[in-house]
Symmetry: D2
Subunit: 305 residues, 4 copies
């Protein structure tokens, strides 16, 4: 019944030094993840720098991802836009491209109340042929989806899952309890890379870790341990991954979008998975010092020799 | 040299009861404003509910506005989108449609620092054949453009004007002083409907009042008084307009987007300028009680008998 | 009937280089203001660095201020504290010291709703023998007093005035209109130094300008013009004061409390009104470069030769 | 070496129906906790409604707590106030009363930068004879203590522990890693009642759960399991406690301070530990329906029959 569970990396969008999407590197990234055994692919999320891509690029990344994955695991796609009617246009194109579900945020720029936000999700669900996953990312859309709203949308079948990037772990745990009490109508996926053992204990059905681009095998080992309730192993793996996560904090004095995703892209370049750590304009590249520091971290956790 | 000064209403986008854009009503709204003598038209701003329109609708509203205005005054258009490369796509279409300038916000959804935001504006200015007006609307994009950033963009010629909807009147006054000290490189337009006399004293070069949709003649009288430094007349007119502005506060317990713009649209319907006060889904219509209260306010200020 | 109207500087609290309150300088500051003809004195506001003084110091500053003013104008005092029962203790001491009113903020640290905030003001008003002025300073207490709440407290006689430091000039203008419509139950005083001409047009009953410490005569001239509806003169004086206000923006890269109040204190030291610009620990002094820049601004507006 | 580890409930302050502190109930609450075997007592935290008590009441609650505990475990006390010099006055009285450490927040009301906040803690540490614990509670003081700041204060010996109520679990986990890497200079205590198993995995040295007032034995069992790395037992106990935690969410439509602490107090009244669930004015009592719902939850987790 579930659309999406387990380890679902939100893929970065590789770019050539001139800023164009690098589809060969995208293929290699997908292979890197699929070979590791991931359970799904989330394209066009925040890690995918969806905000910086044109509609044509978004569509093409989705098409290429679906093609490369070739049905082995579900591909879901972010369809971030201002409001429902615009989201629907994107979502229909994503559905045509073969995604298993679309990932929808609260409205942007608009100033809506809770009833309008609920209707926003309902409009999209009614107009699109694939299921809707709610994407709770208040740091970007400036709206937190309340547990009451999520459970209402879950109960009525508007959404099939939540991708939680809210940073509100207490809220997530209460949501997991509410979801269990309601018969588990939806899947709950957490984006908190450094707390995945804890999110497993809290009852997450899956993880969407940006850092999973870099070390999918690590997250798969962690998730296997979570599934087996082998918390000690989960904890050991999490602590190893948390050392790796420091690549996201290497860039100092940089913007929110430059630092974390920049660290992931640089690591992937250093690992030879993608050709270039290029970020979309106007985001400048990381420094050579940052590159060296990231290389050292990769070596420390034995991803590079 | 100026692209935009004086009274420039940010037009609402009339809609049919089924939610489709009502282009006949749009034409009548433009006539209503042009007949009153406005100095420019701002399409696809927040009052135009830009967040709720598809790209095709945005483009068509701009085309129709340019056509109806037929060169009598400049038409400028909002091209709100996540980041520069997406903004540029919209801005080029708007430029092709004949706008005199495009109105550009800080990035949305993206997490950028000041240097990246400056480059965002520079990317748009470099890629588009019409001038760029910066749109400072932190309540929606969650970023306040600092005076230092604005003056830097002004000095280098990246922007020709600012449309200030920040609510930071103190900042606006300091910006006006800085702009004067720099030789007035840009025009400063304020969106504060209820403080236009004061914004005139502060040194505004023009006004972009949402309420100007309803009573353009009032704002023109106010602006004439400001131009003549006849502050007493300006104050009297402002106080009259402020009574009218209460139409925006009639809807209680409604969302930010339902209340103010809903009040403007309802007034325009009651005045016979547009056919329907319909708002885009998922925003529900105002109540009958709200309609009656708005009618009473229109009568109180002698716009309705 | 009014407790407080006109020009009411929120006095800074002079300090010796060792951080102790400098009462001789306080006397000279009060003389400086009274000689200029101010209409009232507000001690222990944000400009008075109330947050940094012990209760004993707060009480003594109030006592000394009341003594020096000697009934020539009303002295009101801030009694900032967490919640009502603590505020009442301070307010009673201030009342015993002879203040004409106490200035009370919304609760701090506490997480209250509007009904509780209303009762907070009611508890203070019921327990203290002098009138209560509401102090709306959301940048510090993180709560904005809504116009509905203020007008309710006004109608029932809980408060006699509002000291508005909210930065919400649009809200202030609507409050002034609501207050007029209700028969002017309370006085409205604005703290916006650079918009006093506009606040006069909006209907302010008085001003509480921090910059009034430095140039009380300028604000008195401005206010006289406002009273006479001589807006042109008001505007000219405001623009002169706004040049002076740049002293508050001289310190770059400093905290909110270091910059503005630091600028006022430095100017007062340079003018010879107080002995030292010392700020309370842990706030470091302004730099010599800042001192020179402030001196230059004072000269530019002819306060220093 | 550690001042505070293990289970340290932040005690509520029992009150009589007239709002006076109920010291007999306080004694019974302390006995309830000590008999369960808690490792420490934290008086005058947010759960203790420190914001609503006068200095005399704060002091007396601390004195009575120290006396009743009689050295069996450390008693630490919150000394919340605006800035360092005021905090020091309170902290010295608390030290005289015999507390093992004082718990100090970032400045309130003041607008300080990071360097000033660091000096704020240094001023208190230098002036007080007992160790300083940093209290990170941004929901109330509106400042988040950064990990860099905390580790700096830790390295130099300014603070001996952090009480984390920030809700930033990711940040807490990174802080725990940084603290380990630095040789564990300080203890890290988490206030997240519903994530204590996870906080144990993250490396917490102790817990300060408000809900621990109600069920100290449950948290002790949980902590024993954490100490033994018996995560399965910890998880089972946490899930039981999370059912109990719903007492904090029973009150709907109430303020932040009314709901959670109100739920704790009501449960303690129903359990017969304290005489009355009275909250300090202006906070109204919970409803009878809330009382019944809380009773039902207590029965569900077998704390009441």
């Amino acid at each position: 019944m579930s659309v999406l569970q387990g380890i679902v990396p939100p893929i970065v969008t590789p770019m050539q030094p001139d800023g164009q999407v690098d589809y060969d590197s995208l293929d290699r990234l997908l292979d890197h993840l699929l070979n590791a055994g991931v359970d799904g692919i989330f394209a066009m999320g925040s890690s995918g720098q969806v905000a910086y891509l044109t509609d044509a690029e978004r569509d093409e990344v989705i098409r290429r991802s679906v093609a490369r994955v070739a049905g082995r695991v579900p591909v879901v796609a972010g369809v971030a836009d201002f409001t429902a009617r615009r989201v629907i246009e994107q979502a229909r194109r994503a559905a045509d491209a073969g995604v298993a579900a679309v990932v929808v945020t609260a409205p942007l720029y608009a100033l809506n109340d809770t009833a309008e936000i609920a209707d926003h999700f309902r409009m999209v669900a009614a107009a699109v042929d694939v299921p809707v996953i709610a994407y709770d990312v208040p740091v970007r859309v400036k709206t937190k989806l309340s547990n009451d709203l999520v459970m209402q949308l879950a109960a009525e079948g508007t959404i099939v899952a939540v991708k939680d990037s809210s940073g509100d772990d207490v809220g997530f745990r209460r949501l997991a309890a509410a979801n269990r009490a309601a018969g588990h109508p939806i899947d709950l996926l957490s984006g908190h890379e450094v707390m995945c053992d804890a999110m497993g204990m809290a009852g997450a059905d899956g993880l969407v870790p940006g850092l999973g681009n870099v070390d999918p095998a690590g997250y798969l080992r962690l998730w296997q341990a979570v599934q087996a309730a082998d918390w000690t192993t989960a904890l050991v793996e999490q602590n190893r991954l948390n050392k790796l996560m420091e690549i996201a904090f290497v860039p100092q004095g940089r913007s929110g979008d430059a630092g974390g995703i920049g660290g992931f892209k640089m690591a992937l370049e250093l690992l030879g998975v993608i050709d270039s750590a290029t970020m979309p304009a106007p985001i400048a590249p990381l420094s050579d010092a940052d590159r060296d520091a990231i290389r050292a971290i990769l070596a420390e956790v034995d991803l590079l020799s």
